[in-house]
């Protein structure tokens, strides 16, 4: 369970204070496909960063499985991301000079995993997203959909308990987008938390939990029954 308690996040842009989140409280249960919706600037990406411990709140608490993430050091947060979180970004965020396999193996290479072992696991992850024949390609030689699948494979390679995706279909055509969503949806079967940030209502229609953010506050959230 990921729990946010009265989370505030304020940025300083020049001399102006921007309140990205203003007292957000949420509970995201495992095995659920959760979607956070809202307009641009509503604070949904910030919420995702805090959930994945990529950033820390200005005030409030973010707890994951009873662990208060806001008390962790920079190093502990890095380790938490490494073991429990898989990020998928709208712009894929692959490293340009690494092949698909090396990109996927990257999280493992940063840990005590040998290159051989990392490559083996990376290949499995790439097979999972149907890209076993594109392992040696660099991102520039892959289509948008393929790149996003590589990004998903990278997010999965550590077998994390939480997948956080920011507009994962934003740059994809409809068919490819559906395929990517299908992959993400599937992950909830393993009791993972899957949180997708989007402004696309079609994605919300297949979610178990839909949260609407407006001006940094939760406007509404509701569970819904979705046919699997």
């Amino acid at each position: 369970m990921l729990v946010l308690h009265d989370v505030h996040k304020t940025f300083l842009m020049g001399e102006t204070q921007v309140h990205a989140l203003r007292g957000v409280s949420l509970e995201l249960p495992p095995g659920q496909f959760s979607v956070i919706m809202g307009h641009s600037g509503s604070g949904k990406s910030t919420l995702m960063h805090l959930a994945g411990s990529l950033d820390v709140p200005t005030s409030g608490r973010v707890e994951y499985r009873g662990l208060d993430l806001t008390t962790l050091t920079s190093r502990e947060r890095a380790d938490f991301r490494s073991s429990d979180v898989g990020f998928v970004f709208q712009k894929y965020n692959l490293v340009g000079n690494l092949t698909a396999m090396e990109n996927v193996a990257l999280p493992l290479l940063l840990r005590n995993t040998t290159a051989k072992q990392a490559n083996g696991q990376a290949l499995e992850a790439l097979e999972q997203v149907g890209l076993q024949d594109r392992v040696a390609h660099r991102p520039s030689k892959l289509s948008g959909g393929e790149q996003q699948r590589v990004a998903i494979a990278r997010a999965l390679v550590n077998d994390p308990t939480m997948i956080l995706a920011d507009e994962p279909t934003g740059n994809l055509d409809t068919a490819t987008g559906e395929r990517v969503l299908g992959l993400l949806r599937q992950l909830t079967d393993d009791d993972k938390i899957v949180l997708v940030v989007t402004h696309n209502p079609e994605i919300a229609s297949i979610a178990d939990l839909v949260v609407y953010l407006r001006d940094g506050q939760v406007e509404s959230h509701h569970f819904q029954e979705v046919a699997r």
Binding site: L54, A78, D79, N93, V95, G96, L109, R111, A115, R154
Partner: protein
């Protein structure tokens, strides 16, 4: 984990090939300069010190006091008397004025080092000054037998006289230095005369005939062969032997009077004191003629210019104590002279060489620092360019110190590669340089010293230089906020 970071860094260097090579080039140039200069510098030092070692560190030379200035100018080479405006090479100075008289033995007193003479023509004053110098020099010789009894630390002593004599052969005429060792001297101190190795002919066979042994370059210059006749001070002598060249330089320079003398780097570095005299008198056998003192005293006596006393200190005895005792002995003999040990001369030369080496190494170090700054610039730009990548690394779990390490390995590797290539290029250049520089420095061929210390020092230093240059950019990279880094375009 470190190995994985190393692989990632290597991958990054390879993927940014052009920039990496340009950066490496900066380090390479610096390292090349350092390696070449240090190895050549050390090599030259070793070669010069070897020359002194060959002479022997147990030798103390007693140079005649007051004759130094004169002697300096007279230790050089042949001054052709025949026309064509010949240039005489004179122990570090080049006499450029044309000879004024017709062929058949023209003297050039100005070229003999008497700086008081003016004008282009030989004058009566010039000749008088020359004679005066000769008289003063001749009056300073010590009684070596007495010296051995007065200074118990000495085991051998001998006198090497040097004169400037008019020379005449079938084809040419002029002045040349004539050294007058005794048979005993040649036996006791051959090292002082560069081994006194005969290349052609024989050494002196008796003291009753007018025999002369000719230095390699003099033989070449005078076109002399064994058995030829040569007139010294109008007295006929027969060439019985020709000495081996003291170094390759003399062979290559042939009779080119304008070229640098081959009297040894040590001599070229002489500081003008008695050191100069000692070095020029002892190390240069190429330009001399040798007549036994036993014979010279009978036929050439009036033209003695200087007499250097050579002594050998007993093994284990203190050189400085021996020098003190020699000074006392000089006083007792009412003579004048200044003892100087080969060790002192070597120290003096080594000091000068070390200074030159330090200056050159400092210049090379500046080049290396410039390379380091280039590397820092590259790494700083890389951090800006790779900001998003840093964000990605952090999002997949990279710790701050891992990002720091990754960038440090990156810059350190470029420094190291630059070091390895610079080492190879610098070694090659120093080997080539030693062949080109050796003869012109007067130390013949010498081997640049590229030892384990230089190799490991250069490699470690270049890696550290690379890593240090990358510290600040890497630290910046590691401190980037992952969210901000991911947002970078």
């Amino acid at each position: 984990m470190k190995l994985n970071l190393f692989r990632l860094a290597l991958k990054n260097i390879r993927s940014r090939r052009t920039r990496s090579w340009l950066t490496i080039l900066g380090v390479l140039v610096g390292v090349t300069a350092v390696v070449a200069l240090l190895s050549i510098g050390t090599g030259v030092q070793e070669a010069v010190l070897q020359q002194f070692e060959d002479i022997g560190y147990d030798i103390i030379v007693i140079a005649p006091m007051g004759a130094t200035g004169q002697a300096r100018g007279t230790m050089g080479g042949f001054m052709p008397g025949s026309a064509q405006g010949g240039m005489g090479r004179l122990g570090g100075q080049t006499a450029t004025q044309p000879s004024t008289a017709s062929s058949g033995g023209t003297f050039s007193p100005k070229a003999l080092g008497d700086s008081s003479s003016g004008g282009d023509e030989a004058t009566a004053q010039d000749l008088e000054a020359l004679r005066d110098a000769m008289r003063r020099a001749a009056s300073t010789s010590l009684d070596t037998e007495l010296l051995l009894t007065q200074v118990p630390q000495l085991i051998e002593a001998g006198t090497l006289g040097t004169q400037i004599q008019p020379i005449e052969t079938a084809t040419t005429s002029g002045f040349l230095r004539v050294s007058t060792p005794s048979l005993d001297f040649l036996e006791a101190f051959p090292s002082v005369l560069g081994g006194f190795d005969i290349e052609r002919g024989t050494s002196f066979t008796n003291t009753t005939e007018n025999q002369v042994i000719v230095g390699a370059r003099s033989a070449e210059l005078l076109e002399m062969s064994v058995g030829d006749s040569i007139s010294i001070n109008s007295i006929p002598f027969t060439v019985v032997g020709i000495l081996e060249s003291s170094d390759q330089a003399s062979e290559e320079e042939e009779a080119d009077d304008g070229a640098l003398s081959s009297q040894g780097l040590a001599q070229n570095l002489g500081t003008g004191s008695s050191t100069d005299l000692v070095l020029s008198g002892l190390t240069n056998t190429d330009d001399s003629l040798f007549v036994l003192s036993e014979r010279a005293s009978e036929v050439l006596v009036s033209r003695a210019m200087s007499a250097v006393t050579i002594t050998r200190v007993e093994p284990g005895a203190s050189i400085s104590e021996a020098k003190d005792a020699i000074n006392v002995a000089i006083g007792l003999q009412e003579s004048a002279g200044s003892p100087i040990s080969i060790q002192e001369v070597a120290d003096e030369i080594q000091g000068t060489l070390s200074l030159i080496e330090t200056v050159l190494a400092s210049i090379a170090a500046v080049a290396l620092i410039v390379g380091g700054v280039g590397l820092m610039n590259t790494m700083y730009t890389a951090v800006l360019e790779r900001t998003r990548e840093i964000g990605i690394l952090k999002s997949v779990g990279a710790r701050d110190e891992q990002v720091l390490t990754l960038f440090l390995i990156d810059s350190g590797l470029m420094g190291f590669i630059g070091g390895v290539l610079g080492l190879i290029l610098g070694s090659t250049l120093s080997l080539l340089g030693s062949r080109l520089l050796g003869p012109s420095l007067g130390v013949g061929s010498f081997t640049p010293i590229i030892d384990g210390w230089l190799v490991s020092g250069v490699l470690v230093f270049s890696f550290i230089l690379g890593a240090l240059s990358g510290v600040w950019p890497a630290w910046r990279a590691s401190r980037l906020n992952p969210v901000d880094a991911l947002a970078a375009e």
